[in-house]
Amino acid sequence: MNTKSINRLVDATKLAMIVLVACLLVSVIILLVSEQPGVAISSFFLGPFSSLRRIGNILEGAIPLIFTALAVTLIFRAGQFSMISEGAFFIGIMGAMIVGIAMPLPPGLHPLVALLVAGVFGACAAAVPALLKLKWQVSEVVTSIMLNYVIQFFVIYMVNYHFREPEASSLASLKIAESASLPGLVPGTRVHLGLIIALLFSVATWFFVFRMRAGFKIRLVGDNAQFSHYVGIKAPAVMVMAQIIAGAVAGIGGGVEFLGMYTRFKWTASPGYGWAGIAVALLARRNPMLVPLSALFIAYLNVGSGIMARSSDVSSEIVLIIQGVIMLMIAADALLQNWRQRLIVQNATA
């Protein structure tokens, strides 16, 4: 065994361990609180596969997670900890909504323009904490989180005061033009063209990060900013670039989610895909190619918890508990590190 395959073995074991712990944790919590644990556990784990529509729910639930996780991947790869994916996604929804309602365009062109605008909005949002750090060394972590709140209220203001459906009693925007919607893919489900777009973005992001000069710079800067400085890379500029691209990806994700799944804007708060995207990105070990798989896993947990909440007495928030535990365990770099070390030493001395 060489070092590369040892790393792969240890990483795979760690991943399996995490998935196992997550599933065990779900079962234990259910056994503790539920009066009908059998129903709850089976609806959680098997429910998502019980019908075509529910399998569709997993696929369509993975779409927004793929986009935000790709954005998180780009930001983390550059060694930055901006949490702006959440806000970029939400403002992307608004961008797509404005084009969908206010700009009459032919089908085909309409969603394209809407997604473009969504991407630009997302990129602008992500540029703010990035540039503040570049220019004045303001920590991007806190500013991005604060900006997420600002964006949330701004978007709701825009819907409430400029695009609101006057007939509706609760907050809802006007209907978007039919020409702007993304077409469905599988009859009997709500899976839409966004899935293909998301997969294309995963491949493109992988290509960008691992095969292109700019992506190489991002990785270099993220791994060792000082070193990259000495080899003549303008590290601050690369960090800003990574965040702006990430913002665009998350913004487009918001647009895709909106145009694929909704005809009106109905959110009363930012939906949290940006935060969930962190868990997805970490689970995929910041590899864009693996992002769709880990997004499917998290989406599966989401769908399962939803079905369980409807068919038993356990609430769906259990899924956030698991997400938190998963994030903790993946982030734990030293987990299984001793084993890895031993294998490598054994291998070297053999």
């Binding site: 004045w136 806190v142 209220f153 409430n160 962190i278 938190g324 982030a331």
Partner: protein, 310 residues
């Protein structure tokens, strides 16, 4: 009454101190952590969980004291998890904190539903709250009495904590160690003090501070737990700590500045401004404050060194 008359009233000062209390508590925790070289992004989640734990502890035992103990225990437990994963398992602090926050967001609503059947708030629980304190003699002095007396017990405690944390950091051996670990961990390692142990203690103290910040929200500011009631105050406390350069006094002043805008947003609700902009104000003010502080800092370093390091 116009906005300015409102701001100049005693009621505004009282409200200002009310919204400042959780920020002061939690930002003092952030100070201790930062001094030891740890950025604790999990403050938000610790506050939230302790807010619920305090409510539940007091509701089920009928005793405020037990409620406080439960809230503190919750803060300590989450801090211990944070510390274990960050210090022993070498997880990145930002990711660790985010994980704690994600966990807390789900855990609190989950527990709330298990115990009350509701997901929104704990109004069905008969939980206890901290009372206000009329300072004897002082309360009868005009003006000063109105200004200083009659606030929540925890508000006084929060200001007291600023002094205690200051004393702890600058006048005790533990404080010296905490500051030394943050300044130069190799140096402190070389004199035989465990860096991990010092940081662990700092994180635990921080957990107690954040748990009081959280408990104040559900057992003082309001009389019940409401889901997601912390609403970014943990992060704003971190911002206050950054703006106060991790000094207790400076951080308290920064927390008061941020709280001013929080209080202001309560008043502006009376005006005909879209409510979204009013709600946005505390967060926008935090960004503006951080930026203003950083600009000023960059200028002074530029002057000092004549150039900027990347």
């Amino acid at each position: 009454m116009g906005v300015f008359e409102h701001i100049l009233s005693f009621q505004f000062v009282a409200m200002w101190l009310r919204v400042a209390t959780p920020l002061i508590f939690t930002s003092m925790g952030a100070v201790i952590c930062e001094k030891s070289g740890v950025v604790n992004l999990g403050l938000e989640g610790i506050m939230l969980s302790s807010a619920l734990a305090g409510v539940m502890g007091s509701a089920f035992s009928g005793s405020l004291f037990v409620g406080v103990l439960t809230g503190m225990a919750m803060g300590l437990a989450l801090s211990a998890v944070f510390a274990y994963f960050h210090l022993v398992l070498k997880a990145n602090a930002v990711l660790c904190g985010t994980a704690i926050n994600t966990f807390a967001g789900g855990f609190t609503v989950f527990m709330l539903e298990v115990t009350t059947g509701e997901k929104g708030n704990s109004s069905s629980l008969k939980s206890l709250a901290f009372g206000s304190w009329d300072i004897p003699v002082l309360k009868d002095i005009p003006f000063i009495g109105d200004l200083l007396s009659g606030h929540n017990v925890l508000t006084y405690m929060a200001f007291l904590m600023v002094g205690i944390i200051w004393y702890l950091l600058y006048k005790t051996p533990l404080g010296l160690r905490i500051r030394a670990v943050g300044e130069n961990e190799d140096a402190i390692n070389s004199v035989g003090i465990s860096v991990k142990r010092v940081r662990f203690i700092a994180i635990m103290i921080c957990g107690v501070m954040a748990s009081f910040g959280g408990m104040y929200l559900s057992m003082g500011y309001l009389n019940m737990f409401v889901r997601d009631m912390v609403a970014g105050r943990g992060f704003i406390s971190l911002a206050a700590n950054a703006m106060g350069q991790a000094t207790p006094i400076g951080t308290m002043l920064s927390a008061l500045v941020f709280a001013f805008f929080d209080g202001l947003s309560n008043i502006l609700q009376l005006l005909k401004i879209p409510s979204e902009f009013v709600q946005m104000l505390p967060y926008a003010a935090t960004i503006a404050g951080l930026v203003a502080y950083s600009i000023q800092k960059t200028h002074s370093t530029r002057k000092k060194h004549g150039l900027v390091r990347v």
